[in-house]
Amino acid sequence: MYLADIYGKQTCVKAGIVPEDLVWRNPAYRPEMAGVAVPHGVYVHIAGVDIVRIDADDFYVLEDNARTPSGVSSLLGGREICFRLMADLYGAHKVAPVDNYPDELVSTLRSVAPRGTTDNPTVAMLTPGQFNSAYYEHSFLADKMGVELVEGRDLFVRDACVYKRTTEGPKKVDVLYRRVDDDFIDPLAFRPDSMLGVPGLFGAYAAGNVTLANAVGTGAADDKAIYTYMPEIVKFFLSEEPILKNVPTWRCRDPKDLSYVLDHLPELVVKEVHGSGGYGMLVGPQSSKMEIEDFRARLKASPETYIAQPTLALSTCPSFVNSGVAPRHVDLRPFVLTGANGMKIVPGGLTRVAMREGSLVVNSSQGGGTKDTWVVEL
């Protein structure tokens, strides 16, 4: 709703719920998307919501991922491995299955095919190619979904429709599950030097002849600066309180918040607004004086690019490490699928583990691990 609004009527900006510059000057905002009617009104077909637990009943949303959340292959692969290692446990508990995720994903994607396409829309997955670090996940998932894994050069646009080149001639593509970033999907609309995209793809998309999942410009809803406004945004559109709370957050762009943050740096976690993968952040309690002072300087130089949060006592989970079984901090990323007929949540998720003792950084790019996650029926 928020995305439909910022690319449409812009009411929540006009009402002052979200500061103008966070929308218009957000690099992830795509002005080109304004006025584009996305098929079935769905922008974020696949979302990953990072959730943490800080005590018995308190869950917080740590971060939203609305671009192209990754990690589904770990979710499926983790289940497969655990099943082999501990098959008897699955027999003893009613563990909700996750193996149907690829099927659910395909049916979600089919449901959002442009109106007027055939009963049996063609879905394809667009990958940057075998040199991309996530290529394994792409080919794994495409295989499980039973859809073709295509690269930009396999596709072309003719008369505002997208086709794939096959040995039997051109075949129309209705839905593209794309794992290529906005910047690169169409050299005629975005970065002209992109070799990964399809010239004219955006034109076909704007004409309503192909569905892109996720939509272009969804990043405008998931960055860490917008995150802090999410409770207000939810209230504005739904007139309801959000069920899952946000982690209390100080916006360093606000001078009052900034001075608080600067005074309490050793206790806080400070993150870059546009950062991801656990880079460019400061975990106060675990940092040296020098690191803190260094960060203080960066904060003062460009406060608007940072937010700060209290250091959360993330819940831990027994983990098997070199020294035996020990507690390690975890968070949970369930995947939410949104199609033409509503939302589905796969009963499971990606549980990420900080492998280093005491560490709170669970990102896989920083040596984090993953765990199989069960949803058990009692």
Binding site: Q10, V13, E20, D21, W24, R25, Y29, P31, E32, M33, A34, G35, V36, F156, V157, R158, D159, A160, P187, L188, A189, R191, P192, P199, G200, G203, A206, A207
Partner: protein, 277 residues
């Protein structure tokens, strides 16, 4: 003032291109300062054109050829009547609040030098005043030269070279204005030359900036004036890429060669000349 425009672009391929796809922003729209009397785009090859409108309100045509072509000529011609508005642009299609035009793009990113230049030259006056000073300074300190820059040269680089073409002048103006928190955008179009020269090598480009209480105002730093009767506004965007007359890609074929001829003439003047004869 009535202005007639003919803009011909020929694409010649040494080896035929297997497929060509192009996005054209070649069609002007009415606003208070200009009325389109007629306008048409012609291709010398049969093709279906899909027309639409982009987010910035530009008229967009998508064309694609899927058969091999040796060459392709796109001819745009039309007649526009312009009215004096002293640079103020009103009655355009606006989807975004001015705040959007503070976004930086790769082509209009400012660097330390450019920001300092903007601060020093613009001074502390009213926004309109600052913008005029900025335009004068760019016109004064930049050298017009087609050699050192191309369509991909970002503002900061052209500024460092202190030379470029109207595109670079505009990018620098835009980057400088945005660094002062003044919304600014890129405009592509045609300009009638005052020296009577009709045939031109390239289209023209200038900038528009937003001043509170007035609205969007055109600034042509290459000519140090606010566009008026002589300027025909065709497209607008955050930078050249957003307003580019043609963005295209061709598959197969080698060495695309471009030949562009543009004729911009004052119809009244021709009329007068004829009468004098």
């Amino acid at each position: 003032m009535r202005i007639r425009i003919q803009h011909r672009t020929a694409y010649i391929y040494e080896e035929p291109a297997a497929a060509i796809i192009q996005v054209l922003r070649l069609t002007p729209r009415n606003h208070e300062g200009q009325r389109i009397r007629y306008w048409r785009i012609d291709m010398d090859q049969d093709v279906q054109m899909q027309s639409g409108e982009d987010a910035f309100g530009n008229v967009v045509h998508n064309i694609c050829f899927t058969r091999p072509l040796d060459d392709l000529t796109v001819t745009v011609q039309g007649e526009v009547e312009t009215h004096e508005t002293h640079g103020v642009v009103k009655g355009t299609m606006e989807r975004f609040p001015p705040g959007l035009y503070l976004r930086e793009t790769p082509l209009t990113q400012s660097d330390v030098a450019l920001r300092k230049f903007a601060r020093d030259r613009a001074g502390k006056g009213a926004v309109l005043d600052q913008l005029h000073k900025l335009m004068e300074a760019i016109h004064r300190e930049m050298e017009f030269n087609t050699k050192p820059t191309d369509v991909e040269t970002p503002a900061a680089k052209a500024f460092e070279l202190r030379s470029g073409v109207c595109q670079d002048f505009s990018h620098i103006f835009i980057a400088a204005a945005r660094s002062l928190d003044i919304p600014a955008r890129y405009v592509g179009g045609y300009m009638l030359r005052t020296d009577g020269q009709i045939r031109q090598e390239a289209g023209h480009a200038w900038a528009e900036a937003y001043a509170p209480d007035i609205g969007w105002i055109g600034f042509d730093p290459a000519n140090n004036l606010c566009p008026s009767l002589t300027h025909v506004r065709v497209s607008a965007g955050l930078d050249y890429l957003g307003a580019a007359p043609v963005r295209g890609s061709h598959q197969g074929g080698t060495a695309e060669r471009l030949e562009t001829t543009i004729m911009v003439e004052h119809i009244g003047a021709q009329h007068q000349q004829q009468q004098q004869r």
